[in-house]
């Protein structure tokens, strides 16, 4: 009962957050005086032209009615029409990039989560050994590096200078299924993996250490179980739960983290699309993409919260 209420409360909060986010995006891109029309026409436009375009875009209507028109269109799946090119619907323009980014994030999750968990557990088991110290020290340094720095270092190492193993760009051909072009995706996926790895493995290490010191692990050892069994059957399943929230948060971070990485590898995803839209001052696209990315971010963080509530018995029964 309390459990459903807590989760329902989080969901409501998530919806409210998304509403405020949509207002913020709208105000920033459209409602601020002169912004949209001036952004499209550039600084050299005459006031007359600006006024003309403003009335054409409906910018001279009251802000609330502009917002309501926009958000009701968004909710019915109509993201407006792109300003540039063939005046296509935004939903059509961003469909393929959105799918490409989804593939990138999915592959990153599939690669990074098991590796990070494995390394975290290993460091915890070998606590304070040389291997552990190298891993913890390495994660501190790796966590500090911006993702595009990691990406360029990987390009130099694996594509252009030291080894010539992989292509330095990731431009999948249209019409060819992505699993036939996995080689192109190795470097971007590796870059994003190294970017999220430090946090997940660090959390996994901390929670595993805590579990390994618990009474029931001592009990399992006293029963004479093999250490491997103690670790993988008794400790790890319980240590994963607290790390799940952090993992979901890291995957949420990818909603922003993909931008620089896609740009670096010229990968035609939603991040590259956003940068292009900003350069071309295509307001409907900017609105749609930032709204989608913020929504993904909010949803993944919400998932993290709900998982935390579900796996934590104290929160679950409201005894906190």
């Amino acid at each position: 009962m309390i459990l459903t209420r807590t989760i329902a409360l989080r969901l409501v909060l998530g919806v409210v957050t998304l509403f405020v986010v949509s207002v913020l995006i709208f105000v920033a891109t459209q409602a601020l005086p002169g912004n949209a029309a001036r952004a499209i026409l550039g600084n050299t436009a005459t006031p007359q032209k600006v006024a003309e375009l403003e009335s054409q875009l409906g910018l001279n209507r009251p802000v609330e009615s502009q917002y309501l028109a926009w958000i009701s269109h968004v909710l019915s799946g109509n993201l407006g029409h792109s300003f540039v090119g063939m005046n296509q619907p935004v939903t059509q323009v961003i469909g393929q990039p959105l799918f490409n980014s989804f593939v990138l994030v999915l592959l990153t999750a599939l690669v990074s989560v098991p590796i990070s968990i494995g390394v975290g557990v290993y460091a915890a088991v070998k606590r304070d050994s040389l291997a552990d110290r190298v891993i913890t020290g390495g994660t501190v340094a790796l966590a500090a590096l911006p993702e595009f720095v990691i990406g360029i270092l990987l390009i130099v190492l694996l594509a252009t200078q030291v080894f010539h193993l992989l292509p330095p760009v990731a431009r999948p051909q249209a019409g060819v299924p992505f699993y036939r072009q996995l080689r192109e995706l190795v470097l971007p996926v590796l870059t994003l993996t190294l970017a999220v790895f430090p946090y997940i493995s660090r959390m996994m290490r901390a929670s595993t250490i805590e579990i390994l010191e618990s009474d029931y692990v001592a009990m399992a050892r006293l029963k004479g179980l093999r250490e491997q069994v103690v670790i993988w059957r008794h400790a790890v399943p319980n240590a994963i739960a607290p790390a799940v929230q952090g993992t979901a948060m890291q995957l949420a971070w990818l909603a922003g983290g993909i931008v620089a990485v896609e740009y670096l590898f010229a990968y035609p995803g939603i991040g590259s699309q956003l940068l292009g839209a900003i350069t071309e001052r295509d307001i409907p696209q900017i609105q749609a993409i930032t709204l989608i990315l913020a929504a993904v971010y909010v949803l993944l963080n919400l998932t993290a919260d709900v998982i935390t509530i579900l796996v934590n018995p104290l929160l679950r029964t409201g005894l906190r």
Partner: protein
Amino acid sequence: MSLPSDTVRRDLPAPGRRRHREGVDLLKAALSLTRTRIGIAFIVFVVGVAVFGPYLAPHSTTQFVGAPLRGPTSAARLGTDFLGRDVLSRVLHGGRSTLILALLATAIGEVVGIFFGTLAGYSRRRVDETVMRTFDVVLAFPAIIFVLLVVAMSGPNPWYIAVAVGLTHVPAVARVSRGATLQVVKRDYVKAAEALGMSRLAIMRAEILPNITTPMLADLGIRFAYSVSIIAALSFLGFGLQPPAADWGLMINENRIGIVTQPWAVLTPIFLIAIATVGANLIADGLTRATIGLDRSMKAD
């Protein structure tokens, strides 16, 4: 780069001399750790390059010294960039913009964040809830998307960039300082100040602020590293400083096309950005460890 927010739970000693001594003890403890020393060496090096670099540069940033994208020669020790300008000179000039903007952004984030954090921690429940919920909304944007949105609308103006990056820090800084404030407000000296009839703002400034500096100090390095990352990324994406400015992030972007024949034009700025962010993180890590260690020894007392 999102960071798990630490819940700060540490007992802080009474103000005055004890407070001063704790600060010194903390710095000493942090300095005894190798990672802190390496971090300081890194930061001193990068700041040194940024501050003194322009005086040491053999050429100006716009002077053409040779054919484009050539490797190191005696005239251009790190080779030439995509237009034939001296990479070394541009690297020596290119640190100031990034570091100054990052410092500014960090300062904005810390000041605004600490103000709202202490306000939330030292307020009645309703204000507290309102402030923290508002920041949850700001947190609903991935930082780089928020900054890109601002830049998309305002154009690549350095002041707006610093403010936008600073604002992305506010929720995290507020959360840390709120946690620290909650530990302080229960103390007798805060109650005493309240009994004396001091205003809430005066108490925040005179009693609470000096006593939350220790946890904030450890957070500072992380914030700075994060600022450098975002500002360099923005330049790299072409939305920071504009050509012909010499700027590390911009240099990486401009010279990327020549990475096969002239990697130094890309690797040198990459290396300096990495040194700055890793250095700041190592110092933060050392300070955090020292704080935990101090807590342990204080409990043992």
